[in-house]
C-alpha cells in the first residue's frame, strides 16, 4: 500500500435548502477536516449530518457555499468523475449481488478502465488488507458472506482506487455490538496505515468519541453546535445542547479516551519473601501515598498486598500475610476500565504490569481523578479549564 495520504476537505459556508421548505437542512456549515484525519459528523436525526456528507460527493448538491477537496472545488469536475475519486461506504453495504467479491472490489478500477492485471493485483491486495483471504473469498458471491465480512468487502471496494477521501455513512450501524467493536478497532488499525481523510456519519456518540480525531456535533436544522477533538468536547461542551447530547456520563467517557500509559505511575514498594519487616517499614514510610507494600515473586510478578500493620517488629516477612487479588492493568488499558477494576478492590490501587506480567508501577484512584481535572487543549490550541463552557 503506497502512503497516499488524504487531502484536506473544507466546507465553506455550505447550505442546503430543499425546495418547498423554508428551514435549511444544512445551515451555513463551515469546517475543515485536516488531511488524514477522521471527522465524525454526529447528531440527532434531522440534524443534516448525512446531507452534509452526501454533498461532498454530490449525491446531494449544495444550494450555497463551497466544498473543496485538496483546495479544488468539487463543482469543477463532473459528478461521476468526482465520485470515482471518493471512497463511499454505506450502512447496508450495497454490494452488487450478481458480482463476485473480487468483481465487487474491482468496481471502481473498472470504471476507471484500469488494465485487468493491475485491477486483479489491487483486488487481492485489498481483500488481504481488510482481512479476507483472497484465494478463499475472491470468487464467492455476497450472499455467501456474513454481515461483518460483507462490510469488510464494502471497505475494500471503497479503497480500491486509493482515493484521498472516504465517506462512511453509519458503516457499522447494522452489525451487532460485539462485532461492531471488533470492526471499529480493525478499521482504526487500517486507517493508521492508509491515512485517508474520512468523513464518518453516526448517530451514536460513543462511536463518535471512539472513531473521531475530531467530532462535529450538529443540531436540528443543520447547525454546527461544536467542532473539536473528542477530549475537548467532553471536557468543555460548547452549549447545553452539546452537554445533553454527549450525556451525563461524559466524565467516564473522557476516561475511555485516556490510557494507563498516560499517567505518571507510582513506584511500588516491592517485597520478596524473606525480606526483613523493619527494613520494609522504613522503605514504605518514605512514600506518602502508600500504606501497602507489594509482594512479588522472583520474576517481579505481583502476588499480593502487605498491610503496614503486618510489618510490626522485625524478622522475615510472612508471605502468607499478603492479601491476594491486587487488580492488574496494562499500559494500554483505558482509564475507564482501570477505574472500574480499582473501585472493585479493597486497596484501591492497581498494579500496572507489562505483557510478561512484571510490575511496572502502581496507579491510584486519585491519580485517575486528577487526570479528569487537567485542562484540555482544544483544536484551536487554547487551554480551557475543565467544565468551563467555551464562549460561543
Amino acid at each position: 500500500m503506497q502512503d497516499a495520504s488524504g487531502a484536506v476537505v473544507a466546507f465553506d459556508h455550505v447550505t442546503k435548502r430543499y425546495p418547498g421548505s423554508y428551514a435549511p437542512a444544512v445551515d451555513n456549515l463551515t469546517l475543515t477536516v485536516p488531511a488524514g484525519e477522521i471527522c465524525v459528523l454526529v447528531g440527532p436525526s434531522g440534524c443534516g449530518k448525512t446531507t452534509s456528507m452526501k454533498m461532498v460527493n454530490r449525491l446531494i448538491e449544495p444550494t450555497g457555499g463551497r466544498i473543496t477537496i485538496g483546495g479544488e472545488d468539487i463543482m469543477s469536475l463532473p459528478a461521476v468523475e468526482l465520485r470515482r475519486r471518493i471512497g463511499y461506504v454505506i450502512q447496508q453495504v450495497g454490494l452488487f449481488p450478481h458480482l463476485t467479491i473480487g468483481e465487487n472490489t474491482a468496481v471502481v478500477p473498472k470504471l476507471l478502465r484500469w488494465k485487468a492485471d493491475r485491477t486483479r493485483k489491487r483486488t487481492d491486495e485489498l481483500l488481504d488488507i481488510v482481512g479476507l483471504d483472497p484465494a478463499q473469498y475472491r470468487d464467492r458471491y455476497p450472499n455467501e458472506l456474513s454481515g461483518g465480512e460483507r462490510q469488510r468487502v464494502g471497505v475494500a471496494r471503497a479503497l480500491a482506487a486509493d482515493p484521498p477521501v472516504m465517506l462512511m455513512d453509519e458503516p457499522f450501524g447494522a452489525v451487532d455490538p460485539i462485532r461492531r467493536d471488533g470492526l471499529q478497532n480493525e478499521f482504526l488499525r487500517l486507517q493508521s496505515r492508509v491515512r485517508k481523510t474520512i468523513i464518518f456519519v453516526t448517530h451514536d456518540v460513543d462511536e463518535a468519541i471512539k472513531m473521531g480525531d475530531r467530532i462535529a456535533i450538529l443540531q436540528r436544522g443543520g447547525i454546527l453546535a461544536q467542532y473539536d477533538t473528542p477530549a475537548a468536547i467532553l471536557a468543555n461542551p460548547a452549549s447545553e445542547f452539546v452537554e445533553r447530547f454527549v450525556g451525563a456520563d461524559r466524565g467516564l467517557k473522557r476516561l475511555s479516551l485516556g490510557r494507563v500509559r498516560d499517567l505518571e505511575l507510582i513506584d511500588a514498594v516491592k517485597v520478596r519473601a524473606g525480606e526483613d519487616r523493619a527494613e520494609i517499614r522504613r522503605r514504605l514510610d518514605r512514600v506518602d501515598e502508600l500504606t501497602y507494600a507489594l509482594l512479588v515473586d522472583e520474576q517481579d510478578r505481583p502476588l499480593g498486598w502487605i498491610d503496614q500493620h503486618d510489618l510490626a517488629g522485625s524478622g522475615p516477612v510472612d508471605p502468607d500475610a499478603a492479601t491476594p487479588g491486587a487488580p492488574t492493568v496494562e499500559p494500554e488499558t483505558t482509564l475507564r476500565d482501570a477505574l472500574s477494576a480499582l473501585l472493585g478492590s479493597s486497596v484501591q490501587l492497581g498494579v500496572v504490569v507489562n505483557e510478561r506480567h512484571r510490575v511496572l508501577g502502581l496507579v491510584s484512584v486519585d491519580a485517575i481523578g486528577e487526570r479528569l481535572r487537567t485542562p484540555v487543549r482544544a483544536a484551536d490550541g487554547k487551554l480551557h479549564e475543565v467544565g468551563e463552557t467555551a464562549a460561543h
Binding site: R83, L95, F96, L111
Partner: protein, 215 residues
C-alpha cells in the same frame, strides 16, 4: 387412437409443431422488445407507468376471438401478421410488469452504492440494475411463453394455429379424436419443455442467486 394416422401424418405434425414454435418465438421476441422499450420509457418518466400499464391491461382483456374478428378485415386471414398482432399484445402486460417489478426489486442500497461509486445512469442500468433484475425478468418470459404456447392454438380460427390446426381443423371439424389428442399433447409438451428450458436458463444466468449464506 388411430396410430396409423399418426404414422402417415408425421410430416404434417412436424410442420405444425414448427409453425407453433415459430409463432411463439416471434410473439415473445417482439413482445419483449416492445416491453423493454416501454419499461425504459417508464424509468425515465414515471408518470407514464399508469397509462401504459392501463393500455396493456385493456389489450390483455380483449377476448382473442374478438381481436381476430377485428383484425382480419385489415390484415387478412392466414396472415401470420394477424396472429402476431394479437399474440404480441397479450405478452406485453406480462413482460412489462415483470421487467418493471425486476427493476424495482433492485435493493435501494445497491442503487445508492452504484451512484456513490460513480456509475453513470446508463452504466448503472446495464451493469447493475438489469443483471440484478434478471431473475424476475426471466420469470416473466417463462410465464408469457407458456401462456402464448396455449394461445397460439386459437389462431387456428384464422387458418394458422400450429398444433391448434390439428385440434380445430382436423379434430373438431372432422370429429377425429386422434388429431385432437395429438395436437393437445403436442402443445402441452411444448409448454412443459419451454417452462423447463427457462428454469435451466435462469439457473445458468444467475449463479449468484443459488447459494445462501448460513447466517
Amino acid at each position: 387412437m388411430d396410430v396409423n394416422w399418426i404414422m402417415r401424418n408425421l410430416d404434417e405434425i412436424g410442420q405444425r409443431t414448427l409453425e407453433h414454435v415459430f409463432l411463439t418465438v416471434i410473439a415473445i421476441s417482439v413482445g419483449f422488445v416492445i416491453s423493454f422499450i416501454l419499461a425504459l420509457l417508464i424509468r425515465r418518466a414515471r408518470w407514464l407507468e399508469g397509462p401504459i400499464i392501463g393500455v396493456s391491461g385493456v389489450l390483455y382483456a380483449i377476448p382473442s376471438l374478438a381481436l381476430f374478428a377485428f383484425l382480419v378485415p385489415f390484415t387478412g386471414i392466414q396472415n401470420p401478421l394477424t396472429a402476431e398482432i394479437a399474440l404480441v399484445s397479450y405478452t406485453i402486460l406480462i413482460l412489462l410488469r415483470n421487467i418493471l417489478a425486476g427493476l424495482q426489486s433492485v435493493p435501494r442500497e445497491v442503487i445508492e452504492a452504484a451512484d456513490g461509486m460513480g456509475y453513470t445512469s446508463s452504466q448503472r442500468l446495464w451493469r447493475v440494475e438489469l443483471p440484478v433484475a434478471l431473475p424476475v425478468i426471466v420469470a416473466g418470459l417463462r410465464i408469457a411463453t407458456v401462456t402464448i404456447i396455449g394461445l397460439v392454438t386459437v389462431t387456428a380460427l384464422i387458418g394458422l394455429g400450429g398444433l391448434g390446426y390439428l385440434i380445430v381443423d382436423i379434430g373438431y371439424r372432422r370429429f377425429f379424436l386422434t388429431a385432437t389428442i395429438v395436437g393437445s399433447v403436442g402443445a402441452v409438451t411444448l409448454a412443459v419443455l419451454a417452462d423447463r428450458g427457462f428454469v435451466v436458463l435462469q439457473h445458468a444466468l444467475t449463479p449468484w442467486a443459488r447459494q445462501r449464506a448460513e447466517d
